[in-house]
Structures are given as C-alpha cells and as structure tokens.
Symmetry: C2
Subunit: 346 residues, 2 copies
Amino acid sequence: MTPRTTRVVCLVRRPDGEPLPRDFAVEEHPLPPLGEGQVLVRNLYMSVDPSMRGRLSTTEKHYTHNFTPGSPLDGRALGVVEESRCASVPPGTYVRHQLGWRERAVLDAVAVDGAGRIDPDVAPLPTWLGLLGQTGFTAYVGLTRIAHLRPGDTVFVSAAAGAVGTAAGQFARLLGAVRVIGTAGGPDKCALLVKEFGYDAAADYRAEPVRDALARLAPDGIDVYFDNVGGEQFAAALHALRTGGRVALCGMMSQFGGEGRTVDINQLIQAVLKRLTLCGFIVRDHEDLRTEFEQRVAGWLAEGRITARETVVDGLENAAGALLSLLGGGNVGKMLVRLGESAHGS
Amino acid sequence: MTPRTTRVVCLVRRPDGEPLPRDFAVEEHPLPPLGEGQVLVRNLYMSVDPSMRGRLSTTEKHYTHNFTPGSPLDGRALGVVEESRCASVPPGTYVRHQLGWRERAVLDAVAVDGAGRIDPDVAPLPTWLGLLGQTGFTAYVGLTRIAHLRPGDTVFVSAAAGAVGTAAGQFARLLGAVRVIGTAGGPDKCALLVKEFGYDAAADYRAEPVRDALARLAPDGIDVYFDNVGGEQFAAALHALRTGGRVALCGMMSQFGGEGRTVDINQLIQAVLKRLTLCGFIVRDHEDLRTEFEQRVAGWLAEGRITARETVVDGLENAAGALLSLLGGGNVGKMLVRLGESAHGS
C-alpha cells in the first residue's frame, strides 16, 4: 500500500541571525501519486551540509535555490526504491538524489537512474554521501582541478575535522603532498586529525592565532590552501603561502558568524607579491571528473588507505538539531541523519 | 672626457607613514670607471612607478629588493650610450635598463644589448617606458594571460587614469571587450577616460561608492576586473562580477593609504558563489609574451588606434616630487622624469 503522506522538515521562518530550533518544524505532508516513470524512495540517510546555512537566510540568488519559509528543506539523500513505475529502476535499488529532509519522496526515475544509483557492495551507504559523495568529490576537485596539487606540496586545510576537511587531508597525502596541516576547534579534534585523518600536524584555531600556528608548523610556507572558512584563517594562509601558491576557495563558513568579519581585505596584496591564484569553485561544475574520482577513492577505500568517518544522528525529528550542531562545529567528518532501518548501516 | 660623478636621488630615511620630500635628497656620487664590456649611459627618461612605494617602506623581502636609506633609488630608465667598451653596443644606442634615479650609469653591455635596445623610429622614447614598456606589458599580460580576456567581455579597470589603467582600457577594447568601465579620482580624469582612452564609462570613486557605480554602469555585471587598487574597489568588483569572472590582481595601492583598510575580507564568499578566479601576477614572470606584446602594441600605435599619454616632469631634482605626486594621483597616464636634452622628445 503506497503511503499517502511523508514527514518532512519545514523551514518555519528565516533565521534572524543564527538559526534556532524554533525556525524548523517536522510536518506531515501529502505525497504526490506515483506517476508513470516515477519511483517512491524511502530515505535512509540524509546529508547535512554547511552550504545549507546560506540557503536559510539569504534572499539573494546564488548557485542554487534558497529555502522558502513554510516549505520543506531539501538536500542530498540516499534511499531505497520502495515502489517503481519504471522498469529500469526496480524496488530495492539504492539511489542518491536531492529530496532529503523528508522520509519518503516521489522522484522521476530518470533523475536517479545511471549516476544516481549506488552500489552498497563498493562501500557502506553513509560513505556514498561522505567520502564517495559530494563531500569527497568537493575535496577531490578542490585539490586536483582547482588547487593543482602537485607531489611535494605542503597543504593547509581549514575546518580540517569537518566533512570536506577530513577527506581533503587524506586525499592530499595520497595525491603526493609531503606535508598536510589542518586547523580545527579544540584539542580533541586536532588529535583526531593527526591520529585518524593523515594530517602531519594540527592547530587549534581557538587556542592560537592561525598565522602563528602556520609559522610554527610550516616554517618554509605552504603551496596549497584548501579554504573552508575564509576570514582570519584565509588571511593567515595568504601570509604563509609561497610564491606561486594556490588557494581553493570552498566554503567560508566564518562569514556567517560574528567573528573574523573585520579581517583586512588589503592583505590580498600578498596575492600580488607572491603571484597567488585564488579560485572559487562549485563542485557541480566538474561532473566530468566524477568517474575518475569514484574509481580512485573506491580504490583507496578498498585498500584501507583512507578512513571514512561520519557523525550520525538518528531520526527526522533530530535533523534540524543536526544542522545546528554542524554549524556549531559539533561534528567530526560527515554529518548525516539516519532514518529508520537500513539494510547496510554503519 | 668621461664624467667621474653623477647626480643621484638617494633615500635619506624610510618614510614614517606617507613619504615626504625630506625623505629624499639629490647627491653627487662617484661613477665607477668604465670596464671592458661596459657602457656609460646618459639617462633621458626615468620611469616613476607605484611599486616604488612598497620598496621605500618595507623591510620585508618581496619579489624585488627594497631601497636602502643612504643609498640611491633605482628603477626603469631609458638612456643613450655615451661611451662604450663593447663593440656591439656603440655610442648613440638607445637602451632601457634598471639604473634610473640618476643622470648617468655604468652598465654591463650584456644587460642592455638585445632586449634592452629600443628603436626610436618605432615609437617616441617616452612610449618605450609607457605603452611599449613595462607599464603596457603589465596591462597586456594582466588582460590576456591572467584574466583571460575574451571577445564580448565587460571589463572594469580601477585606477584607470594611471599608467597601467590607461593602457589596460585601450588594450581591452582592441582585444575584444564590448564594454570597458574605469574608475578614477575626480571628474576631469573620468572625462579623459572616455574621451581619450577608450573607456565606455567612468566613475569618480570619490563621488560615489564604487559598488553603486558598477551597478549603474554595468547592470548585467562584469567578466573581468583589472585590479590596481584593492580595498573597497576590489570588494565592489567581487559583487559586480558574473559567474566565472576573472580578476587580475596587479597593484593594490590602497593598501598603503589609511582608507579602505577595513573592507570585509569575507566578501570573498562571492568568489565561491560565482566561481571567480583571482590571480596575482608580477609581469617579469611573463617575458615569453614580450615579443607578441611589442608587435601588437607597436602595430596599434602605428595604426593610430591607441593613445600614448605621459605626465612628464623635468629634472632629477624634481624626481622625488614626481613620485609623491604619482602616489597622490597627480598623473594621467605614465609618469616620467625627463633629464637633459633628448634627441627624440615627446
């Protein structure tokens, strides 16, 4: 019997400053009837992403649509087909798609066929949203195509304990970096970076100015900076970068907080003096690298050369809290929400 | 009879804040005897460059040496060989070299032979330090190799009435830009940009926030920003740039002033959202483009398609004042100091 409704996470109002739990609500919404060529998917994992922060608050048009008060959130998710009106995507197929933040979704089969299918025998389901998903792909594209990582480079990654950061550190080493340095908030995360995620050294940005930390940990400078935060750490990296250094501009979460907002933009003179290249990117522009990425990372996973680590929160009712936790730095690695039972769980 | 001394401009002390006339002095210094393979050059024109500002104040090592209190300044100059102990560079040869800020210099002939020779029949002598010199080359490299200017682009140039800016605007149009916008200080310079230098529109940054001016003059956004100043204009350009926009970071003069220092570096989030590429450059890294540049620009000059414009100050004793004037925006086009009589004058 096809369910007629699904629980969804709705945006109640645009946050006034930092988002609060009251800005979100779980509601029961009708599901559309399953049309020809469509599938009903039961979501098993949902991705919780820093990029959602901007989509909550802004009314400016960016590279993707913003969330609308009164409507469900959406985002990357992984589910299993429960019912199908498309022969090529039968029930039991595992698919990745964009209609997360709800327990069930009706999707066009063409949207989840092909690249949308995932193989749970290659890697556990959470990994398909993490190291093998958009998160890992972001790290891979940023290091390879944007920052042109070369063997022998010294690499600095900010927000290194986050989803993209834990991927970037490990990938950088496997791609030939001789030294990988990360920053994170607090001594526990810093210890994990070195112990689990392939970092040579880590610095606690709350305990020490990042400019000092880089001078200490990379006295000869850095070649690549993978920027997830902007602000003070970006400015510190400008000073640490060597001539010809490259910066992949990925996230800039600090722009949303109160801190770091007064960092002097004129430190960009460093970019002239040292011929730096700074390049912002959005990973979806680089789908042509997807196959290469999946093959390499699946290989590294199979060989046990990289560690997939997720912070998993259970239940749709805790999803908004997971987002708020993520924005407060409460995760290590990929932040996921798990829904119901999963055939291949972590 | 070989002169035994030359007048030179010396740095008396590092400026404390803005440079002042008392920080400089004209002195008589001995000339070394002319060795085998050397030439004595009488300087005719000296280049006055914004990049000298940093070399006066800083003790940090950058891409070139800094000036030393008690020693002569140096910089690009153009002169005529008066005496030679090298058969391939006879007296009467016009040469470009690095020992300006003095009336005469003894140079190794190999340093001025080949690429150092200039042909006064191709263009007037001042042009060889301006549009056909490092100034024009900077504009050309920045537009072509750094910003990847494409036919159809809308281009914004800051400090557009300066030496590099007047070149960049004209080159951009000839390289296929459909719209070229510049900023300058004051209505007179803005009028000149449109009247003489190929700009479609100009805005007075003193009269209007540059962000507003760009919204008005390029309502559909810009593709390329040629940055000569950094600071507020850089931030305004970030907002005006279209997806995939490119920034050539050239000068950032504003970093030396008191203004613009508090611009929020976090506006760089625009670089992520719009996949911008920002690239600092130093023109001397791109000598492989020199021949192409000289041929194209000499062709445009011969066809009367570009305007060479210099602000010329006479006499070594006025050279420091010319530098201070340049730093205060007192020039239109290339700022030069003329020494003595010149066979081919402007």
